[in-house]
């Protein structure tokens, strides 16, 4: 039936379909994770898993996509992933998974009892009914005794939506083409299926209240969910920054619902489910410890900076403010800046900073360059005009008086005199305000330079 449904929707290459749906230049690598993103609604499912796995455990991500569980690396887990698409498996590997493989989920390429946790997010709704039991059987096989399996599963509410058998050929094709859902079930049906394989199953309907702005619009447009029309139109008109604010608020509420252990009514959209042969612990926050997410491990910072030269891009060694967008794999992995961005960091004995920067600003020319100003602790240390594309390496020497007065705490600020929006309207809208992309921000301490000279 799976092949039939995909074929009937005109999807010939299922792996390619998922690759195009779920692989992007988004950087999910835990080393680039911003603490504030723990409130982002897009990260809500990841955070549920994060707060429920034990530090240092072994986790398998079934249907890993580009690697949504990558932040778990901050907890020191051993993270493995499998996906139907080789490109997805590769993307997850790039995003920090310890091992990934392309495999059918009905035949997992791992030995019995290999993992403490087996997790899937938005996967079981994409598996044909005839194969679901085989997948659960495989999950049970690779799970260690007492291990826990956790799933975020898309659902259907047959009171509000048509079942597959009730849809016309055209409706079915349209429905499957949206996300590839060929195996949606009711919340209770999912739980009943898990009970056939695991002694203890617990599930909570989620997304009854909290959805990202993007999901609201999609559920309304693509699945016909009856949200208030004017509200959906309002969401559709939001800028990227406004959508981010909305998603942060939604994510915050989602987190609080979990923290308060509130039980929401059935949403018919999505369910979080935990199952194990052993009795289950708390549904939320069973192993909550977010210290590694909030700031860099001090000993790690010390280790990375003890050589005197260290890169500020990763490991939360520097605090990038809201003037910076999330990292993108251009390549290399770099952060786009709006008109102004600040980076705060500790670097005792700082002698110089080096960084690579580029721009894609349209219409760049010698007659119309992009003006940049670099300030360190409020003092202008460089001014330059960028009039060509390509990468430029900058070295900013720190004036000794400034270094002496800093107390080892610095704030680098970059100001651009222009910016642009890549796609301000239409399909695939990207209305981010962009000026330059920056990476390889390296702090060079005087001791290191002296050592190198010696």
């Amino acid at each position: 039936m799976k092949e039939d449904l995909y074929a009937r929707a005109g999807i010939g290459d299922v792996a390619e379909f998922y690759r195009t749906k779920f692989v992007s230049d988004e950087v999910l690598d835990a080393r680039y994770f911003r603490a504030l993103d723990r409130f982002d609604m897009h990260m809500a499912r990841t955070m549920w898993v994060y707060d429920n796995v034990r530090a240092g455990s072994a986790v398998l991500d079934v249907g890993c996509g580009a690697g949504l569980l990558a932040p778990l690396k901050r907890k020191g887990v051993t993270l493995a992933g499998v996906d139907l698409s080789a490109e997805c498996a590769l993307a997850a590997r790039r995003n920090g998974y310890d091992t990934t493989a392309r495999a059918e989920l009905t035949r997992l390429p791992f030995d019995d009892a290999s993992f403490d946790y087996v997790v899937s997010l938005d996967v079981l709704g994409h598996i044909d009914f005839a194969e679901k039991d085989q997948v659960l059987s495989e999950i049970r096989r690779v799970l260690r005794p007492g291990g826990v399996t956790m799933h975020g599963i898309e659902c259907i509410d047959r009171r509000a939506q048509k079942g597959y058998d009730e849809m016309t050929a055209e409706e079915l094709a349209r429905f499957v083409r949206v996300d590839g859902h060929v195996g949606l079930e009711e919340e209770e049906e999912h739980a009943a299926r898990f009970r056939r394989f695991f002694a203890h199953v617990e599930w909570r309907p989620r997304y009854a209240l909290c959805l990202s702005s993007e999901e609201f619009v999609k559920q309304s447009d693509e699945y016909g969910l009856p949200f208030e029309r004017d509200f959906v139109e309002y969401l559709r008109g939001l800028s990227r920054a406004e959508r981010r604010a909305f998603d942060m608020a939604m994510g915050y509420v989602f987190n609080k619902i979990s923290d308060l252990d509130l039980r929401l009514p059935k949403s018919g959209l999505y369910v979080l489910l935990k199952a194990s042969d052993a009795p289950l612990g708390p549904f939320y926050n069973e192993h909550r410890d977010r210290r590694a997410l909030l700031a860099a491990d001090p000993s790690l910072s010390a280790a990375l900076s003890e050589g005197g030269t260290f890169c500020l891009d990763r490991h939360a060694l520097a605090e990038f403010d809201a003037g910076w967008h999330e990292p993108n794999d251009l390549p290399p992995v770099a952060r786009w800046m709006s008109r102004r961005g600040r980076v705060r960091f500790d670097a005792p004995g700082l002698d110089a900073l080096t960084l690579d920067l580029t721009t894609h600003l349209p219409g760049l020319a010698p007659a119309r360059p992009l003006g940049l100003e670099m300030l360190l602790n409020g003092v202008t240390v460089a001014r330059l005009s960028l009039f060509r594309y390509g990468w430029l390496t900058l070295r900013l020497d720190v004036p000794p008086q400034l270094a002496a007065a800093s107390g080892g705490r610095f704030e680098l600020e970059i100001r651009a005199d222009r910016s642009w929006r890549p796609r301000p309207a239409g399909e695939g809208r990207d209305d981010r305000e962009l000026s330059v992309a920056v990476c390889n921000v390296v702090a060079h301490a005087r001791a290191a330079l002296d050592g190198a000279r010696g």
């Binding site: 000993s299 790690l300 280790a303 990375l304 003890e306 050589g307 260290f310 890169c311 891009d313 990763r314 490991h315 251009l330 390549p331 290399p332 992995v333 690579d356 594309y389 390509g390 990468w391 390496t393 990476c439 390889n440 390296v442």
Partner: protein, 212 residues
Amino acid sequence: MNEVEETLREIRERVRAEASALARAPQSSANGGDGAQIVARDEAADAFARMEANLATAERAGPRLPPVMSNRAGLVARVELWVKRKIKRALRWITWEQVNFNAAATHALADTLAALRAHERRLAEMQAELQRLGQIQQRLEELARAQGGLEARLGRVGDEGRERVERLLEEQRVCYRQLSLEASESAVLFDRARRDMESRLARIEKTVTGDG
């Protein structure tokens, strides 16, 4: 009677030649850029037609003397005809020279006309050849212009290619730098983990030794 018929035929040919020349004149003027050449060619054709008519007259009149005739009647006419015959016979030695000259001049003019016609045909052929060469030259100029455009485009593509390669090299340089920084970080973290492991082992060893 025979002479009258011939005279009438001459007049008819001359009138036809002039009429055909008149009929060609407007057609030539309606031919745009080549009008001047065509008009010149038609004027030559008219001249040839007139020349042919004149030559026909000269051929008819050239090889013989006119007949002896009188407009009078009776005895006077007979006397006049007798005198004229005597004079014709008496002047035959000189009039036949004139007749011969006329015949030679007619033949020479006929040959000239044939030569002119041959030249006219040759000229027309050369003109056609020239026109064809002009078209070839025009095509060559167009090709040269296109080649110039192509060369400029190739130059632009080359410049763009060089620029892209430069950017790619820059991008590679930055990527390598990033990889190098990541490798350094990994080495530091690995070393840190190794030292941690060694100190743990040392502690365990110490504990085991102490127990022993």
